[in-house]
C-alpha cells in the first residue's frame, strides 16, 4: 500500500506523518511521533493498554487505522493528560493510591477513566467498574484503581 501524507491533531498540536492508510494509529503514535506512553499489549483491542481518546471517546489505537483518525478529530494520548511535575487530578490520585504495580496498563486506565469522569464526574462504584471493565490489569491493581478514580471524583 502506498504511503500518504496525513495530518493528525494530537494533544492539541497538528502533526504531519507519511504512512500507509491502514497502519494502526498505535504505531504512528509510538514510532513516528515519539509518544511511547500508549502501549502495545495484544494488538487485538482486548486489553486496553493502547487506549487513546478520539474526540473524547475511548478507542483502541491498535485497531484504529491511522487514516480514520486523520480527519480532523482531536486525539489525546496519556502525554496530553499531564506530565511529570504537572499531573492531572486523576494522575495525582493514581499516585496517591498506588493504583498500579508494573504500570504497563496504567496509561490506558487513565485514558479510560479520564473519559468516564469527563462524562460522569461522580460515578458510583458500579459505574466505574462498568466503564473500566475492558481494561485489563494482570498485576491485579483493580481495587487501587477504583479507589483512585473515586478519590479524584470526590475531590472534583
Amino acid at each position: 500500500m502506498a504511503k500518504k501524507d496525513l495530518t493528525l491533531n494530537v494533544n492539541g498540536s497538528l502533526r504531519q506523518v507519511t504512512a500507509e492508510l491502514d497502519e494502526p494509529l498505535l504505531w504512528i503514535l509510538r514510532d513516528d511521533l515519539g509518544l511511547t506512553g500508549t502501549k502495545f499489549g495484544c494488538g487485538s483491542g482486548e486489553c486496553g493498554a493502547c487506549s487513546v481518546l478520539i474526540d473524547g471517546e475511548v478507542y483502541r489505537s491498535c485497531r484504529v487505522p491511522v487514516a480514520y483518525a486523520a480527519m480532523g478529530q482531536k486525539i489525546v494520548t496519556i502525554e496530553g493528560i499531564g506530565s511529570v511535575g504537572n499531573l492531572s487530578a486523576l494522575q495525582r490520585a493514581f499516585v496517591d493510591h498506588t493504583a498500579f504495580c508494573c504500570g504497563y496498563c496504567t496509561p490506558g486506565m487513565i485514558i479510560t477513566a479520564t473519559a468516564l469522569l469527563g462524562k460522569n464526574p461522580h460515578p458510583s462504584r458500579e459505574e466505574i467498574i462498568a466503564a473500566m471493565d475492558h481494561n485489563l490489569c494482570r498485576c491485579g491493581s483493580y481495587l487501587n484503581i477504583i479507589e483512585a478514580i473515586e478519590a479524584a471524583a470526590e475531590a472534583s
Binding site: 514510532d31 487485538s44 499531564g82 498500579f100 504495580c101 494482570r138 491485579g140
Partner: protein
C-alpha cells in the same frame, strides 16, 4: 572476564568510598554466628579482582553527597526500586534526590540471583538495611582517623559524620575514601540493629513516570537504523514439529521487509515497521512436519507415561500411618495450564557495537545475568562481549527468568547487522513462548483418627513439581512424590503463586473434605492439625474478619478457608465468601479476608497493592483461567480466550499484617503468597455454598451447571 573493580570504580568517574556486601552463611536458611570484623578502614580488597561475586551488592559514595546502589535484581512492578529506596534513604539518612538505584545492568551490577520467589525484599533489601547500619559505624571510624577526633565524640547522621550534639556535618563518606572497596559479610541472624526500620510509606518511586506514560519499557527505546522482527507461528507446537520447507519470496518482495530468514528452524521476518513484519508474516509459505502424537492429548496420557522425578517429602512410615487411621480418604484433583499473561509481551532490543565485537541488549527480565549468559552462549561469543540492560518489566510473574527472546534478538541483530527489536505478539506468547504452569493430576490420600488428627498423608503429583505441604500441618507420616512425562511438549514454568499452587488446591480441598466427613468444622479441624501457633493466629484472624461464625449467609452462599506457608517463614491465610448462581453457573466472590505474617513490612503501599494482586491471581486460577491445548498445538491466542480477572471479578478485600512468627527479624516477602490461600478458600466456599466439591480447575460456569444440574 569482566570489569574489574578498578575499572568499575573508574567508570563511575569519582574518587570515593565503596562497599560490597554479601550474606553469609545464607538468608533465612541457616543459623550461625558471625565473628569476622568489618575490614579496617585502610585495608582494601584487591581492585583487580572481578566485579561479579555471587550474592554481592554494592553501595558507592560519591561524588559529593551522591550515593549509588547496585543490584542485579530487576523492577517487575513489585516495587523493588521503591523498597530499596525506602531502606537506603532511611538507613543512611539521605534524601531520595541524592540516591541512585541501578538495577540489572550487567556492566555495573553484580549477579545477586534471579528476581523471584518473593525473595528480593527479604534478601537484597534487608541486606542493604544491615549493610547501611554497618557502614554508618565504619564511616565514623574512618572519619575519626581523617579528622583526628575520637570516635566517641562523633556520630553518623544525615548521610555524613559530625560531632555529637552539633548540627553541622564535618565530612561526608565520599571524602573518606580514594576509590577503595570494603568487602563486608553480613549474617542477618547475628546482626543486632541499633536502628529499627520504620515504614514511612513513601510513594512508589516510579509513580509519576508510570502515570504519565514516561517510564521506559524495552519497547519504548529507539535506536538509529532499528528494525523490527517477529517469528512465524508454526501450525503445530514448536517442540512437536520441524520446518520442512519455506518459500519466503513473497515476503522478501514486500516493501518495508528487510529480510526473511530461517534461523534454527524458525522463520523470522525483519522489517522497518512492526506492521511490515506482520504483513510479511502473513505471506510466509512453509510446510511443517505433522506431529506423531494424537491430536487430543488428555492429561491422563501424561500420567500413564510419567516417571518419578523426585520424592519431595518423606517422613515416618506412610503405610503404617494409614493402617493406624480410623478413616482413609483418597481423592484425585486436576488443574489446568496457566499462562503468565503479563501485559508486556516478550520483547528485546539488541544492538551490535564496536563493529560486531560486542552486543548490548535491552531486556525485560527477572535475571539480567542469566540473560547475558544465554546470549553469549547462543551467539557463541565471549561472556564479556555482552551487556544486558534491564528495563522495568510490564509484568513477569515467573515467565521472564530465562526468556529466549533476548538471545533471539541478539542473533537477529548480528544477522542483519542492524539494531533489532524482536516482539512476541500476544498469540506468540501463547503459541511460541508457550511456557505455562503445567497442568497436573494430584492424587491425595490421607488417614485421620476419628478424633480429627491427621496421621498420614500421601500425595502423588503428575506433570509438575509438587511442594508446599511442609511447615503447614503436623502430620507424622508423609510421602510426597512428583512424576513427569519427560516427553511432554509443554515446559513447566514458574508462575506467581509458586510451583505448589496445584498441590495446595488439592490438599486444602482435601482438608475440608476430611473435616466434613468427620463431621468437624473445617476451621476447627485446621486448628487441631496446623503446625505452628503463629499460623493458627493468621487463620483465626481471617475467620474473624469475615465473620466465620456469624455471617448472614443467603441460599447458595458459603464461606471457605485456605492457608499457606511459603518457604518456611511466610505465613498466610484467606477466608472467602462466594455466591453460586445455579442458573448461570457463575461463581461470584463476595468478600476475601486475608492475613499475612511476613515480618517487617518495608513499604505498605507496594505490599498492599501486590497482595491484592495476588488475590486476583487466585481468583483467576480457581474460576476462569485456562490455556487450551489440542494435542498438536496451543489453541489459545487471545485475552478473550484466556480469561484473566477483570474489575468486575474483584470483591471487597480486607488484608491484615501480623508479626508473631519471628518478630524483629526483618521482612520476609509476600508478593505471591495470597494466590494459594485465596483459590483454596474459594474452592472450599463453593462446597459450603452448594454441597458439591469440584475436583478440577478452573471451576467454570459450565462445570458448575453440569454438576448442579445432576442434583
Amino acid at each position: 572476564m569482566n570489569l574489574t573493580r578498578r575499572q568499575f570504580i573508574a567508570s563511575l568517574g569519582s574518587a570515593g568510598l565503596f562497599y560490597a556486601f554479601r550474606f553469609t552463611p545464607g538468608i533465612g536458611t541457616q543459623t550461625g554466628s558471625f565473628e569476622a570484623p568489618l575490614a579496617p578502614p585502610d585495608e582494601s580488597v584487591c581492585l583487580d579482582t572481578p566485579l561479579e561475586i555471587d550474592y554481592t551488592d554494592w553501595i558507592a559514595f560519591g561524588p559529593g553527597d551522591k550515593v549509588t546502589i547496585f543490584t542485579g535484581r530487576t523492577e517487575l512492578g513489585q516495587g523493588l526500586k521503591t523498597v530499596l529506596t525506602a531502606i537506603v534513604t532511611q538507613g543512611l539518612e539521605i534524601s531520595q534526590e541524592n540516591l541512585t538505584v541501578v538495577l540489572g545492568d550487567t556492566d555495573l551490577c553484580p549477579d545477586d540471583g534471579v528476581t523471584s520467589g518473593s525473595s528480593s525484599t527479604q534478601t537484597v533489601g534487608w541486606g542493604f538495611w544491615l549493610a547501611c547500619l554497618k557502614i554508618r559505624g565504619d564511616v565514623v571510624i574512618r572519619a575519626s582517623r581523617f579528622l583526628s577526633i575520637p570516635v566517641e565524640e562523633l556520630e553518623f547522621r544525615q548521610g555524613g559524620v559530625g560531632l555529637k550534639g552539633e548540627a553541622n556535618l564535618l565530612v561526608n563518606p565520599a571524602e573518606l575514601g580514594h576509590g577503595e572497596v570494603s568487602f563486608m559479610d553480613i549474617d542477618p541472624k547475628a546482626e543486632k540493629s541499633g536502628k529499627t526500620y520504620t515504614d514511612l510509606k513513601i510513594p512508589n518511586v516510579n509513580a509519576e513516570a508510570i502515570v504519565t506514560g514516561s517510564l521506559t519499557y524495552v519497547g519504548d527505546i529507539k535506536k538509529d537504523g532499528m528494525l523490527y522482527a517477529g517469528w512465524a507461528t508454526p501450525p503445530y507446537h514448536t517442540r512437536l514439529t520441524t520446518l520442512k520447507s519455506a518459500d519466503l519470496s513473497a515476503v522478501r518482495a514486500l516493501p518495508g521487509v528487510k529480510s526473511a530468514e530461517v534461523v534454527q528452524g524458525m522463520i523470522a521476518v525483519i522489517g522497518e515497521r512492526y506492521s511490515d513484519v506482520l504483513k510479511g508474516l502473513d505471506l510466509v509459505q512453509a510446510t511443517w512436519s505433522v506431529p506423531s502424537r494424537p491430536k487430543e492429548m488428555p492429561l491422563e496420557e501424561a500420567r500413564a507415561d510419567a516417571t518419578l522425578i523426585a520424592v519431595k517429602e518423606q517422613q515416618g512410615d506412610i503405610n503404617a500411618g494409614l493402617a493406624a487411621s480410623d478413616l482413609v480418604v483418597s481423592e484425585t484433583y486436576t488443574t489446568q495450564y496457566i499462562a503468565h499473561a503479563q501485559l508486556e509481551t516478550d520483547i528485546s532490543l539488541a544492538k551490535m557495537e564496536n563493529g560486531g565485537d560486542k552486543v548490548t541488549v535491552w531486556v525485560s527480565t527477572q535475571y539480567a545475568a542469566k540473560a547475558k549468559e544465554l546470549i553469549a552462549a547462543y551467539l557463541k561469543i565471549p561472556h564479556s562481549s555482552v551487556r544486558v540492560i534491564a528495563q522495568p518489566a510490564g509484568g513477569a510473574f515467573g515467565g521472564k527468568q530465562a526468556n529466549p527472546v533476548n538471545p533471539e534478538a541478539a542473533r537477529l541483530a548480528r544477522l542483519v547487522k542492524a539494531p533489532v527489536k524482536l516482539i512476541y505478539s500476544r498469540k506468540d506468547q501463547f503459541q511460541i513462548r508457550s511456557h505455562f504452569k503445567a497442568a497436573g493430576i494430584i492424587e491425595v490420600t490421607s488417614g485421620v483418627s476419628s478424633a480429627g488428627k491427621i496421621l498420614a498423608r500421601k500425595v502423588d503429583f503428575y506433570q509438575d513439581v509438587a511442594d508446599g505441604t511442609k511447615y503447614t500441618y503436623d502430620i507424622p507420616h508423609v510421602l510426597v512424590k512428583a512424576y513427569r512425562d519427560t516427553n511432554w511438549p509443554i515446559s513447566a514454568a514458574a508462575t506467581r503463586g509458586t510451583s505448589y499452587v496445584q498441590t495446595c488446591f488439592a490438599t486444602e480441598s482435601h482438608i475440608d473434605s476430611l473435616a466434613h466427613r468427620l463431621g468437624i468444622d473445617p476451621l476447627e479441624f485446621r486448628r487441631k492439625n496446623i503446625l505452628s501457633q503463629a499460623l493458627v493466629k493468621v487463620l483465626d484472624t481471617c475467620a474473624e474478619m469475615i465473620g466465620y461464625d456469624n455471617n448472614d449467609l443467603e441460599q447458595d452462599e458459603g464461606i471457605g478457608l485456605g492457608i499457606i506457608v511459603h518457604g518456611a517463614a511466610q505465613l498466610g491465610a484467606a477466608a472467602a465468601k462466594v455466591a453460586v448462581d445455579r442458573t448461570s453457573g457463575k461463581i461470584t466472590v463476595k468478600h476475601v479476608c486475608a492475613a499475612f505474617d511476613i515480618g517487617t513490612v518495608i513499604n505498605q503501599n507496594t505490599a498492599l497493592v501486590g497482595l491484592r494482586g495476588g488475590i486476583a491471581w487466585g481468583i483467576g486460577f480457581i474460576l476462569s483461567e485456562e490455556v487450551k491445548l489440542n494435542g498438536h498445538r496451543v489453541e489459545t491466542e487471545y485475552f478473550s480466550q484466556y480469561k484473566i480477572p477483570r474489575f468486575s471479578d474483584i470483591p471487597p478485600i480486607d488484608i491484615v499484617f501480623l508479626d508473631n512468627y519471628a518478630p524483629g527479624t526483618g521482612p520476609r516477602g509476600c508478593g505471591e503468597m495470597p494466590v494459594i490461600p485465596t483459590l483454596c478458600a474459594i474452592a472450599n466456599a463453593i462446597y459450603n455454598a452448594v454441597g458439591v466439591r469440584f475436583y478440577s480447575t478452573p471451576i467454570t460456569p459450565d462445570k458448575v451447571k453440569k454438576a448442579l444440574g445432576s442434583i
